[in-house]
């Protein structure tokens, strides 16, 4: 309907040139080619302009990088702590202290019955003599122990819960209360508390990442928007001339959007490099620390996926910031 009316107006015009949406565009393929070429030219133009003032461009990119690297570093820290918490050497262990009076046969029977429990993966027996030997070796109180008439240490069973249930505190709790009721068992000790605390800390950390991430993402948005706005202001005259010769707002907007895009991309890549560099710097003392705990733990970085994600986040924020700044400003710049 609209199109028909428009055609009618065109046909009444003298030259036939007037008001055709675009004389230069012939068909859809040409239009697409034009559109892509325009984008390509804007992309290149934006880089060219950034390279005119390399120090200033780099400074802005660095501010973006610092803002992006802070939540990323926190993310890496939480990720590594999570990894640490789920390693086998740090899994939940239930220590079962047996009655002193328990006989070897009774203990063996108990051990076998415990292994039938579906929640238990393994049961390791440490006799009272083994316990005493270990204590003597590690504590350095061997002399005092020799003064005792008999071994005060009870025999111990170390219970390793199944992989699936070891982080489930409900199951562990139930299992331990069941164990407590057994006649041969005098006491039990579950070292799940520290794991629960670690997980609570990690939950706080995750929230912190989100909060810090949101605030700093907003900061990046503002920084890039502001920089692009300044760039637009310095090209005020050009915008006016382009408007006078029939450039659309989206044509004018495009190179500025790419400017924001590039700030974001460079900033994201720099942020990744910053995180990677600090991880590398940290990795030696961390490995040394892990060695002291007989652990083969190693720091995990952001990897290629992290790089892609950070560049994408940077680019997205840059585009949005630039779009908002330019759109707001473009209405104000009108030829007079």
């Amino acid at each position: 309907m609209m199109r028909n009316r428009r055609r009618k107006i065109e046909s009444t015009s003298h030259s036939g040139l007037f008001f055709s949406k675009d004389v230069a565009r012939k068909n859809l393929l040409d239009q697409l080619k034009n559109y892509l070429r325009n984008h390509y030219l804007s992309l290149i133009d934006a880089i060219r302009r950034l390279s005119f003032e390399p120090l200033q461009s780099l400074a802005t990119s660095f501010v973006v990088a610092i803002a992006l690297s802070l939540p990323s570093t926190l993310y890496v820290a939480v990720m590594n702590l999570e990894k640490l918490g789920s390693r086998t050497e740090t899994t939940t262990l239930i220590t079962v202290f047996l009655e002193i009076t328990a006989s070897q046969l009774e203990i063996e029977k108990l051990q076998k019955s415990l292994l039938l429990d579906p929640n238990i993966a393994s049961v390791k027996y440490i006799s009272s003599q083994q316990g005493l030997d270990e204590f003597r070796m590690e504590s350095g109180f061997g002399d005092i122990l020799q003064m005792l008439d008999e071994n005060p240490l009870p025999a111990v069973l170390l219970i390793q819960p199944q992989e699936i249930v070891k982080h489930n505190s409900d199951v562990i709790e139930k299992l331990s209360s069941k164990l407590k009721k057994k006649a041969l068992i005098s006491d039990i000790q579950v070292d799940i508390k520290w794991l629960q605390r670690l997980q609570a800390i990690l939950a706080v950390g995750e929230r912190l990442i989100f909060m810090l991430g949101a605030v700093l993402a907003f900061g990046v948005f503002i920084i890039i928007g502001n920089t692009v706005q300044l760039a637009l202001e310095s090209r005020n005259h050009e915008v006016i001339v382009v408007k006078l010769v029939g450039g659309t707002n989206s044509y004018i907007r495009r190179p500025f959007l790419y400017t924001g895009f590039w700030y974001g991309v460079i900033g994201g890549a720099l942020a990744w490099a910053l995180v990677a560099a600090s991880l590398y710097w940290m990795s030696f003392p961390v490995t040394r620390l892990a060695e002291l705990y007989q652990s083969s733990f190693q720091l995990k970085g952001l990897g290629f996926f992290g790089l892609t994600a950070m560049v994408a986040i940077g680019a997205g924020l840059g585009l949005m910031g630039a779009w908002l700044a330019v759109t707001r400003q473009l209405v104000a710049i009108e030829p007079e």
Binding site: F18, V23, A24, D30, Q31, H237, V242, G246, T248, P335
Partner: protein, 222 residues
């Protein structure tokens, strides 16, 4: 081609720039617009460029009512009008060639077509050998000719000029007018705002004289 129907323009400040103005320009007509500064010449050109909207009245260009053009359509409308500015409005961050290419670039012409048309336009104004130069080193007359090349490179049916000979001597002015006449001969409607009365009378073309926003004279120069 251009039809003013009882056009009035009053600015928010209260200044009445145009008052009940009516006239018509035929296709491929070349007309002078004269009057003292403040008589409304610039406002008239601004209305044609859709830089301003009339307070009342109808302005038809090529049969289309300009009041009905949506803001988003303004760029497409402007591509049909070439404008020569008194202050040239050239961009000094790019070459002569790129300045002339701008109207084609924003309309999405093919690169080969752009090269062909830009050179044709530069040839017409005699600047073909300066295409790689920065316009800042050109003389006043050359800059004005460059502005004209940019105004006509996309072959608009209408050409507007605001004091195109403002800072030029008589010889250069005559040269510029000769260019405008050539465009007129190939079918372009040309409207030239000027206060250079000697030039106007020497050309012997139709003159629209504005006085305080009204049409004081329409016809051969007095």
């Amino acid at each position: 081609m251009i039809q003013f129907n009882k056009i009035s323009k009053r600015y928010p400040s209260g200044h009445q720039a145009l008052n009940d103005l009516s006239f018509e320009l035929k296709p491929s007509e070349m007309v002078f617009l004269t009057g003292h500064s403040g008589a409304g010449k610039s406002t008239l050109l601004k209305l044609l460029m859709l830089m301003e909207k009339p307070t009342s009245g109808q302005l038809l260009v090529d049969g289309k009512n300009l009041n009905r053009i949506h803001r988003s359509q303004v760029p497409y409308y402007r591509r049909n009008i070439g404008v020569v500015f008194q202050n040239h409005q050239l961009l000094f961050d790019r070459s002569v060639f790129d300045n002339v290419a701008l109207p084609l670039l924003v309309s999405g012409f093919q690169p080969r077509e752009i090269g062909r048309r830009v050179r044709a336009a530069l040839d017409k104004v005699g600047l073909l050998d300066k295409e790689k130069m920065n316009p800042i080193i050109l003389s006043g007359g050359e800059q004005q000719r460059l502005g004209i090349a940019r105004a006509v490179v996309h072959k608009p049916p209408i050409l507007l000029a605001d004091e195109p000979t403002g800072n030029l001597d008589t010889e250069l002015s005559a040269e510029i007018m000769g260019l405008f006449q050539k465009f007129c001969e190939v079918g372009v409607t040309v409207l030239i705002a000027t206060h250079d009365t000697d030039l106007v009378s020497s050309m012997g073309l139709r003159v629209l004289k504005l006085e305080k926003g009204t049409l004081a004279h329409d016809g051969q120069p007095i």
